[in-house]
């Protein structure tokens, strides 16, 4: 139990470190070299990885922790992403049996589909909160170029996170129990 717990803590800390590095890249490094049009929401991909490949009852708390860190880089705050993250992870838990990550293409398509669910939910909640659905479409479409690029990058990111969470050998199926 002890080694498993210490591995969990270590993996979480490394994941948070990766998230911070990627958030700095998207909020400061990319704008500094001229990329200002679209933000790459790496927090979404990391949460999707956790939801799709890591099976633990503590998953909601991990989602919250990742979103708390993300909130330091975005006025989106932690609550919205946490809510959507849990919704997405619940959907993922039902689909785990049929999802495959055997090839890069399969990973990209899966990540893209889940990102669509994420952004539809996020836009809907923001519009509900503001009591105005006028900008729903715009909010959703504005995020699309970023999601496509993230999907292209997702096999690399998943490979890296596979190493961190030791999920390499268990491709797809029911994820790795921690």
């Amino acid at each position: 139990m002890q080694p498993r717990f210490s591995r969990l803590i270590l993996s979480t800390l490394i994941t948070l470190g990766i998230l911070i590095a990627l958030e700095i890249a998207t909020s400061a490094f990319l704008p500094a070299i001229g990329w200002r049009e679209h933000r790459l929401a790496f927090n979404v991909v990391i949460i999707l990885f956790m939801a799709l490949k890591v099976t633990t009852p503590l998953l909601p708390w991990f989602v919250m922790l990742l979103q708390l860190m993300h909130a330091a880089f975005s006025v989106e705050g932690w609550a919205l992403g946490t809510l959507v993250g849990i919704l997405v992870s619940l959907i993922a838990s039902y689909l785990k049996e049929i999802l495959q990550f055997s090839s890069a293409i399969a990973t990209m398509i899966t990540v893209q589909l889940f990102q669509l669910v994420w952004y539809v939910s996020t836009a809907a909640i923001i519009c509900l909160k503001l009591g105005n659905f006028e900008k729903f479409g715009m909010m959703f479409w504005n995020a699309m170029p970023g999601t496509l690029l993230l999907s292209l990058l997702s096999p690399l990111l998943f490979k890296l996170l596979d190493k961190v969470w030791n999920t390499e050998s268990d491709v797809g199926r029911s994820g790795v129990e921690i």
Partner: protein, 291 residues
């Protein structure tokens, strides 16, 4: 075994419910127009913002680094040496050019700020919001420099936004490109009132303009000075498209902001006007009597 599984599912359900309740509470408390930084956020911002600042400061070095990397691939050592030498000279030239441009920008900002009878703080843009749905900038100045929430942020080109949240050494600006920022504006030529709202893609919309108003493409917009955030007369943008075909009683007016947000590097934060002691102190009765 079945018992262990069911206990694990129970824990999962309890965890999900707990975090969902927390998240729903968080969303119910969330404001998209103003926010106070939590202690945790302050801590993280204080740690990561210097790194963001580093990237913003080394903008020139970063582009040189990328250019140099592309240049030296597949070249001989001599070529690398010579190109490095050239690159160094070019980098010096670029730096001089960068300093010249910065000097020009700061002079413009300074001459503009002299016209505004309000205390102001010069700040550098060090980062952008990492989510797509929000158009927020991070500045390298915070409450330790005197910045307060709701302080207007401008440049010599026009209005940028207002301070949305503030930490001790860094602050975030909700720009006019963000749909949650609404600016009461005036069409300079016709003095028509409207509300400017962000609509993504670095454009804004002027809302609640009656169809009978004679607004034209090219009309300039300025702040109306209503609402207590922005001073009156700051340039907001220019009308670039009018949709007269749109249904309803109002016109669809597209605005291009005066500020080029792609090239924004320095901004001025206007400090709220504080009434001086002389203005608020009433004369003592004896002094009045003496007169």
């Amino acid at each position: 075994m079945r018992r262990i599984v069911s206990e694990s599912s129970k824990i999962k359900i309890i965890n999900n419910l707990l975090v969902l309740v927390l998240a729903l509470y968080g969303i119910s408390q969330k404001r998209f127009d103003l926010e106070e930084m939590t202690l945790f956020q302050r801590l993280v911002v204080e740690v990561v913002a210097p790194v963001q600042k580093g990237f913003a400061n080394s903008r020139q070095e970063l582009s040189d680094l990328i250019n140099n990397y592309v240049r030296i691939v597949n070249t001989s050592k001599e070529n690398v040496y010579l190109k490095e030498k050239i690159a160094r000279i070019e980098s010096d030239l670029f730096q001089m050019e960068e300093i010249r441009r910065e000097n020009f920008r700061l002079k413009q900002m300074l001459s503009y700020s002299e016209d505004i009878g309000q205390e102001k703080i010069l700040a550098q843009v060090i980062g952008w919001d990492s989510a797509n749905q929000f158009k927020v900038l991070r500045l390298n100045r915070g409450s330790n420099d005197g910045i307060r929430v709701m302080s207007p942020v401008i440049t010599h080109m026009g209005l940028v936004g207002y301070i949305y949240r503030v930490g001790p050494n860094y602050s975030d600006v909700l720009t006019i490109l963000d749909p949650n920022n609404r600016v009461d504006a005036l069409v300079e030529r016709t003095r028509t009132h409207g509300i400017v709202e962000g609509v993504f893609n670095y454009r804004c919309a002027l809302k609640y303009i009656n169809r009978t108003e004679s607004i034209e493409v090219g009309d300039r917009l300025i702040t109306a000075g209503v609402g207590g955030i922005y001073p009156k007369g700051v340039k907001v943008g220019m009308v670039t498209d009018i949709d007269r075909e749109a249904s309803g009683m109002t016109l669809g007016v597209e605005i291009t902001p005066s500020v080029d947000f792609h090239k924004l590097e320095e901004v001025l934060v206007l400090m709220p006007k504080v009434a001086t002691t002389a203005q608020v102190t009433t004369p003592e009765p004896e002094t009045v009597k003496g007169k």
